[in-house]
Amino acid sequence: MKTTTNLPRRDFIKLSAISGAFLAVGFVPLGEKESKIVNLSKTATPGNELNPFVFIGTDGKVVLYNHRPEMGQGTFQAIPMIIAEELEVDINDIEIRQSPADEHKYGDQMVVGSRSIRNNFNNMRKMGAAAREMLMQAAAKRFHSDVSECEAKNGYITHVSSGRKISYGVLVRDASELEPSNSPALKDPSQFSVIGKSVPRMDIPLKTNGEAKFGIDHQVEGMLYASVERSPFFAGRVIDYFGEKALQVPGVKYIFKTSRDVWGKKREAVAVLANSYWAAVKGRKALEIMWHNGDLKNWTTEEIWIDYYKASKEEGTTFEEKGDFENIFDKSANKIEAYYETPYQAHAPMEPMNAMVSVTEDKIEFWGSTQNPNGIRSHLAEKFGMHPDKIIINYTFMGGGFGRRSLMDVVDEVADLSAQAGVPVKVIWTREDDIGQGPFRACSLNHLRGSINAEGNAECLDHKIICQDIRNQSGYGKSPSSGITGGVITEYEIPNFRLNGVLRKHHIPITYWRSVYHSTNCFAHESFIDEMAHEAGKDPLDFRLVMLKNHYRYSQVLKLVAEKSDWYKTPDENTGRGVAIVERSGSFVALVAEVKRIEGKIVPYKFTVAIDCGIVINPDTVVAQSEGCVVMGLTAAYKSAITIEEGRVAQTNFDKFKLMELYETPQVNVHIVQSNEAPEGVGEAALPPTAPALTNAIFSLTGKRIRRLPFKLDEV
């Protein structure tokens, strides 16, 4: 199994086009999940990129392309696995290449919302199957037989009755003359031999010896490095700056005023350009800048909370309603009410934000790690009034993204610097830049009220979300972001239910963060369901099961997690368990946290995850993603948060924005439901229930209810 990843190798196919025949199959995207399969074998002309998904040379060498940027979520391997399954080639014999950014040939390439597999599963299967059928037709002709008498396996077509075999390589010339079918016969899932297997990821060996290239690693001839001093205050403006001292630092070449667009707002900055990163950083330290700090210089997070508590009294927008909450709740004898607070969070991917752009008269080129390569192309096309075809996007592996790398702000700023300097410019954000500037996950207040009837069942529930809306940061009047109520389980059978929100506007920039609103809403929702269960005197897992008895998939993961976590075995007096569930990106997760009191301290000890994500492509990736979600969920629960003091972010680097470490990592056991449902997203699903399962477990052990994140574990 081989990989060439790093940057897409653009010349490979051009050369092959000239030197010999090959079979190249790709598609023309027709909307989010649809496409038309096309034979690209004859479209190669010098300078024209084929950009296929399947490439087979006359030597039988098979190259499969992954068109989804890789940030650790595993699609680099999973997309080709799906093609290989239907193409009938040995996954160990193929080469995987990262495709270029080309929306005409690859459709949507933005990796957000755990969509890569669920939106591409059918397309990729059809792609592999169509190519296989072309090869089978070519073989049948040679065998003077019907296609139905042939079988494809491991890169060969066999004539079943005679046992004669021809390799794919030999068939390439003939197959490349044929038209692909757009409704090829797909395998029965029970026949899958690659899908569902934990195939070792091909990108991993590159990541254990330093070979994998990330955005930050890329260099080009004549480039300059930029380090940029941005206003520490939100919406600060540059009044004046003095760069004389900075220019004396050896290696420093230019000082420019610049800006970047963050959700339609211009954020001003002063940049130092130098011939090395270190010189740029030193120059930046020597800059003198006078800032106008706007009206926000005394702002604190506390003021936001005051505003949110006030807003919680407003009626807000009703998103969903059944029964008659207001009346029944009023009359109810057994009511409870609670507020939950979840803070701003930084994404803090380990690879700091960075990008390199070269802007010239007739061409723009980008190099870097991005979740949204085609978005960069459109952004730069618009910014510079250039035709999109003149903009080349080279994207690399990402050192984590979590939503942060889907934004254009980093590119916007460095493109401006390249245009000013007239050379390729690479910006590398410091960790302090990353943590201090955001955009962040939104903080939110959730107000919940509920009641229990005489039989001990949930009677009323009102869930109100008070937060900022990502999409509406720069203007009023648009509809709220879809997903703003994510993590609220509307399927619970509660006769009187209301789900509403009060959307507030603040100057703190926010954006998508792994699992987005699910991460904040689910904490409140699943904590409160726990409170209701205790109020009703019911087992919290059974309480949920009763309300979801008609929902097969929720019930199934709940039962599985109960079994695997020994839920019904009474724990010893120093152990507590808590449960929480969620539906995120189509996947259903039930999670049980087990905490222990060890030498008087509360220790998150074991997390049991049951996940139903439909058909599984690579089970080991599902496990890995779930483990990662638990760790990131715990970090957000009790390690760190972003707060604002005196108008600026109080945290600067990993000394104040703490991440979970190895020594404090609990056991994570992941159990996957066998399913024939369509495949769903796994990169975020186990994150939302992690915090509420943990705090529910702490409640069951200590009787202390935690309603504000992050909490201090050693103060519980």
Partner: protein, 176 residues
């Protein structure tokens, strides 16, 4: 500091313009001797990455808080983001690129077998720290592993596998 003055002196004598800041440093990296020109306070990290093109060593925090930049100096794990190049002369520096040929170090093998990396960005540092730990203590207890890996962060949350892989590598080393 002494080394710094010596180098500044050397530059001055040889007529270099920026004699008061830039210096030439001889570094032994992965068994090869290199001569680099840099500011004496330039962190070794950036000399490795920008001057020598060894981009396997990563930048993430710049203040010795995350371990992404870990290299081995004379066998010890060192955060190269806070080590001035001027202090790195006369020592044996090993980066991820020089840890082994073709991923053959027991730690790398265990990392691949356990499928540890996700995004992979932190793992040059994780592997260099783990290899240094096992070099000194081939059979560490869980607590010794925890201590040895303190301050080596992974935002993707690969810790459960890091733990398994270190145990596996330890078993491999103990066996051989």
């Amino acid at each position: 500091m002494l080394k710094f003055y010596l180098n500044a002196e050397f530059c001055k004598l040889n007529g270099f313009v920026n004699y008061n800041t830039m210096g030439f440093y001889k570094l032994t990296v992965n068994g090869q001797l290199h001569s680099v020109e840099a500011d004496p306070d330039t962190p070794l990290l950036w000399v490795l990455r920008d001057n020598l093109g060894l981009t396997g060593t990563k930048f993430s925090c710049g203040i010795a808080q995350c371990g992404a930049c870990t290299v081995q100096i004379n066998g010890d794990p060192v955060r190269s983001c806070v080590m001035p190049v001027s202090s790195a002369i006369n020592s044996k520096i090993v980066t991820i690129e020089g840890l082994s040929i073709a991923n053959s170090h027991p730690v790398q093998k265990a990392w691949i077998e356990e499928q540890v990396p996700q995004c992979g960005y932190c793992h040059s540092g994780q592997i260099m720290a783990a290899a240094a730990l096992l070099e000194k203590n081939a059979n560490p207890s869980d607590e010794e592993i925890h201590n040895g890996m303190r301050g080596v962060l992974c935002r993707c949350g690969t810790y459960p596998r890091v733990m398994k892989a270190i145990r596996k590598a330890s078993a491999k080393i103990s066996k051989s």
